[in-house]
Amino acid sequence: MNWDVLFDFSPLFKESGAVLDSFFATIRLSVVTGVLALIGGTVLVAMRVAPTPVLRWAGTLYVNTFRNTPLTLILLFCSLGLSDTLKFKVSESSSVNFFWLAIFGLSAYTAAFVCEALRAGINTVPLGQAEAARAIGLTFSQSLRLVILPQAFRAVIAPLGSILIAMIKNTTVVLVASYLEAASQMKDMFEEYGATLPIFLGFAIGYMVITLPTGFYFSWLARRLAVAR
């Protein structure tokens, strides 16, 4: 009997440097993707609510395409399709190249969800608010800036938090775009030490340390900033 497969946490400590590095890679991916997806999602939602039908169609097409395609396919497309077939290179160094390709795919995917959350936020503002804003003589940009968007943004904090957490968990899939982060580190350790329970638990806890506080923070923020109606 070799109880190590259930209780031996020592591989995690032996490789603690590599494990921490891999989680920093995850955080790095998440932060850059988070910023890019937020920008992309804002642009998309501006397109989807624009008074111009062409922009609305383009936005809808983008969102329907990316929201309904598996992330694995998108990232494979980025690594194999963009990099190998189309010879699209961001940098000569292959790790930098794969980092940006992974970011590109992950942001393109997440932006579609951010767009939908923001749009739902605008739709939570009752029509009466806009009508009242016009009735007291606010101009278009004033009513948007002072009445509608502040309420819309506060309504989407919780959904945006959910999307952020889902995105952090989705960074594991960049494995298929050959960038090394925590999931690929776990896979390597499975190959070296065997797929033992302690290694899995160690990585699971690592992810929970990132996702749970993010969740607590966003739900606190959402409650604090909720619009009382």
């Binding site: 009997m1 070799n2 497969v5 989807r48 609510v49 008074p51 111009t52 062409v54 383009a58 329907n64 395409t65 309904n68 395609t69 598996p70 992330l71 694995t72 396919l73 494979l76 497309f77 077939t85 189309l86 010879k87 959350a117 749009r119 739902a120 605008i122 503002v125 009752p126 806009a130 948007l144 509608i148 919780a158 959904p159 959910s162 999307i163 957490i165 889902a166 968990k169 989705n170 960074t171 899939v173 494995l175 298929v176 925590a182 999931a183 776990m186 499975f190 065997g194 797929a195 033992t196 899995f200 699971a204 992810y207 929970m208 996702t211 749970l212 506080p213 969740g215 966003f218 739900s219």
Partner: protein, 299 residues
């Protein structure tokens, strides 16, 4: 209420001219983007007929795409049924009056919602045999199918448990109070009053979660499960060397299935909002409900 009604007034003459100019500009910009992409594709000879021809031949479909699609649908169907059962059991568990049921159920649900599905699938795929070997037991053979299905069940089942709990909680407390006043017991209140009303309210959210489940079957590619993604990116590519066309066709199939499921969810949502059979607030198809891991620990 649509966003346009809130954000914009009905356009007057000047706004109409401005909108027309904006339309023209955006058409030009979109065409320009399309042109740049098309030129890049053309330069790498991606429009060559020989790359696309396999998709109008019957044997590409019967040998690769349809078996792959069946693999994806089989995994999704089995996982969906198991996840629903898991969700009902743990959703009810979290609503239990007994602390010794409620707390373990909550721990299980929050754990599987907080960790990435992929590392769970990795562990389910290679963990059991490694552990069995360490304990001198006969190593069980875990197929890629089993690992994907069990992983999807644990993760989506946990999300469904939260949806289920939110559905039951969205029913006004007067309903269960009235039922208790009539002399029903706990089981009866749940079975006759709460579950039927909650089902109508949470149907849209459940169907949207099934879209997520179907998309996540693609993770099976990473542990070499023979699904639709595998058919496109491994088999078709190996036979015809046409990666981009294969990716486009495979993506279109996924999009078609998911759009169909998505519109079913939207239809159910509209039907549920009109329905007088439930006093519960409809759980929308938007990703908003319920919150992610760590966002809903209120008990």
């Amino acid at each position: 209420m649509s966003a346009q009604d809130i954000l914009f007034d009905a356009p007057g003459p000047r706004a109409r001219v401005r909108n027309n100019i904006l339309t023209l500009l955006s058409v030009v910009v979109l065409l320009l983007i399309g042109y740049v992409i098309a030129r890049r594709l053309d330069r790498e000879h991606q429009f060559d007929g020989k790359l696309w021809k396999p998709f109008i031949r019957g044997d590409t479909w019967t040998e690769f795409i349809i078996p792959g699609l069946l693999g994806t649908l089989r995994a999704a169907a089995v996982a969906a049924v198991l996840a629903l059962v898991f969700g009902v059991v743990f959703g009810l568990g979290r609503l239990s009056d007994h602390r010794w049921i409620r707390i373990p159920s909550a721990a299980v649900v929050e754990f599987f919602r907080a960790i990435p599905l992929l590392i769970l699938i990795f562990f389910l795929f290679s963990g059991p045999s490694a552990i069995a070997a360490g304990l001198n037991r006969e190593a069980p053979q875990i197929s890629a199918f089993t690992a994907v299905v069990v992983g999807l069940m644990l993760y989506n089942g946990s999300v469904l448990a939260e949806i289920f709990r939110a559905g039951i909680n969205s029913i006004p407390s007067g309903q269960s109070e009235a039922a208790y006043a009539l002399g029903l017991r706990k089981g009866g209140v749940m079975r006759l009053i709460l579950v039927p009303q909650a089902t109508t309210a949470m149907m849209p959210a459940i169907v949207s979660q099934l879209v997520v489940l179907l998309k996540d079957t693609a993770l099976g590619w990473i542990i070499a499960y023979e699904d639709l993604l595998n058919a496109g990116f491994n088999q078709i590519k190996a036979n015809y060397g046409n990666l981009l066309p294969a990716a486009v066709v495979i993506a279109l199939i996924y999009i078609a299935i998911n759009l169909a499921l998505g519109s079913l969810a939207t239809w159910l949502e509209q039907r549920s909002r009109r329905s007088h059979k439930t006093s519960a607030r409809t759980l929308s198809t938007a990703s908003a409900l319920p919150g992610s891991a760590g966002m809903s620990i209120s008990d």
